[in-house]
């Protein structure tokens, strides 16, 4: 039940993340796949750059997953893989996969992990546009 957590500068293998959580004790595998969108607030995006403070990101991700295990004690397996570096449109930026005995908890736990990841995990996103770049969410 040790979660599979990683931050990588290589393309994410979605099938491997799903396979990592599959277990005979779970009847449900739920996943969230975040991909690079071609616009942000109506402004065309060319590509993205993710920067990570790896040691803290993994520590905080561990806390998030531990909270999910507390909230849903039936949670079996969890995998979270986040990409860093330069990503093209359509690339997979993040995968969250969870396995639970029944489906209701799998949706809830998966959503909790991705929502909380976005609030606390130390990864930053710089969007590149036709005419410049911007650190997402940096300014009010």
């Amino acid at each position: 039940m040790t979660p599979h957590l990683s931050i990588t500068d290589q393309p994410i293998d979605v099938a491997a993340a799903l396979a990592a959580v599959q277990t005979e004790t779970a009847g449900a595998v739920n996943s969230f796949i975040g991909t690079v969108r071609n616009q942000s607030g109506g402004r065309p995006v060319r590509r993205l750059h993710y920067e990570s403070y790896d040691s803290m990101a993994l520590t905080q991700l561990g806390h998030v997953v531990a909270q999910a295990y507390e909230k849903w004690p039936m949670l079996q397996e969890v995998a979270v893989v986040h990409r860093k570096g330069t990503l093209a449109l359509g690339d997979v930026a993040v995968v969250v996969a969870v396995a639970t005995p029944h489906r209701a908890e799998s949706f809830a736990a998966c959503q909790y992990i991705i929502d909380t990841l976005k609030q606390v995990v130390t990864i930053w996103k710089r969007e590149e546009y036709e005419d410049g770049t911007e650190w997402v969410a940096a300014h009010p």
């Binding site: 993710y50 403070y53 520590t59 976005k118 130390t122 650190w135 940096a138 009010p140």
Partner: protein, 80 residues
């Protein structure tokens, strides 16, 4: 006593380097460090938020800082 502070994302661009070393503020706390950094780099004060991490955990303003601590400035995160 001096402190090394790791910088990421927009804070690295504002300060212009990925690590800075500063004499420890008096008192040597997270809050005093943030005050000192905002004085030296006013653009840090324009961010939506700027937290301090100590040894991979978010730190409160009254937390004490030591030379051996891994200290980092944490601008608004945007993973996912």
């Amino acid at each position: 006593m001096s402190l090394k502070i790791a910088l990421f994302g927009i804070t690295r661009e504002i300060v212009g380097t990925s690590v800075i070393e500063l004499p420890a503020p008096a008192p040597a706390t997270v809050g005093a460090l943030l005050d000192e950094l905002r004085k030296q780099y006013p653009a840090l004060g324009e961010l939506r938020s700027c937290a301090v991490a100590v040894n991979n955990e978010y730190a409160s303003n009254d937390q004490a800082l030591h030379t051996v601590d891994a200290i980092a400035l944490i601008p608004p995160v945007a993973g996912g």
